[in-house]
């Protein structure tokens, strides 16, 4: 049972969350990234996520393993969508269970930050005006750094 997965179709959160429930865990923190109707002030119709799946899975698994050693948590998991997504669709989910809420919140935040920074997944946005583009945040010298979800 891997803690990180790439999903090429919509997935249910409930069974993923249920796997994190433990009698010794008093706290659960989760994060979800949804497709917004705008980004950088432009009206967005939807997007496509592409991944280098083999590398994304191994790098994602490393992040989750590292979270288990860095934080006093009971368990953690993350799933990231690829493929075509519409506004309001779930793009990424992170769940963390822990004895106490400090570790649950810290680990959850750390995992989503690392996934966004390290996992080879790219977002291709389609805009209401008809054009589309790949988002390549850090190296994008023509636009300000994109820090949003």
């Amino acid at each position: 049972m891997t803690r990180f997965a790439i999903a090429d179709a919509p997935f249910e959160i409930a069974p993923l969350r249920a796997r994190l429930l433990r009698a010794d865990a008093g706290a659960y923190a989760s994060f979800e990234g949804w497709v917004r109707d705008h980004n950088e002030g432009r009206a967005a119709l939807g997007l496509r996520y592409e991944a280098y799946v083999a590398l994304a899975e191994s790098e994602g698994a490393k992040i989750l393993d590292e979270a288990m050693t860095r934080f006093a948590i009971v368990d953690a998991a993350c799933v990231h969508r690829i493929g075509e997504l519409a506004v309001g669709d779930l793009a990424v989910w992170v769940g963390v269970s822990a004895a106490h809420r400090d570790a649950a919140f810290s680990a959850c935040r750390w995992i989503i930050d690392e996934v966004k920074a390290r996992v080879p997944i790219w977002k291709h946005e389609r805009y209401a005006e008809g054009d589309a583009q790949w988002l390549h945040p850090q190296a994008d010298s023509e636009a300000s750094v994109r820090g949003g979800e």
Binding site: G33, Y49, E50, A51, Y52, A54, L55, A56, S58, E59, H80, A91, V92, I112, V115, K116, A117, R118, V119, P120, I121, W122, K123, H124, W134, L135, H136, P137, Q138, A139, D140, R146, E149
Partner: protein, 79 residues
């Protein structure tokens, strides 16, 4: 000469016009990117990318073996 497969993703694939290609090359991954950047006109300097070898992040000074799978990783935007 070593034969390897290079994968392109996202903006790099758009710029190359292909998703992958077979290359024959001597030297390290940095030299390979420099050659392919010249060939395809990639805008990104090497410092903006990461590189992977056989599905794991690698160093630019690594040298690909025969049959290796190489990918240049443009800045990611998951989440």
């Amino acid at each position: 000469m070593t034969r390897a497969t290079v994968l392109y993703f996202a903006g790099l694939r758009d710029a190359a016009g292909i998703a992958q290609e077979t290359v024959d090359h001597d030297g390290d991954l940095a030299a390979l990117y420099a050659a392919l950047r010249a060939k395809h006109g990639f805008a990104w300097p090497q410092a903006s990318l990461r590189v992977s070898l056989d599905g794991a992040f690698a160093r630019w000074s690594d040298t690909p073996h025969e049959g290796a799978e190489i990918a240049f990783i443009p800045p990611v935007s998951g989440g």
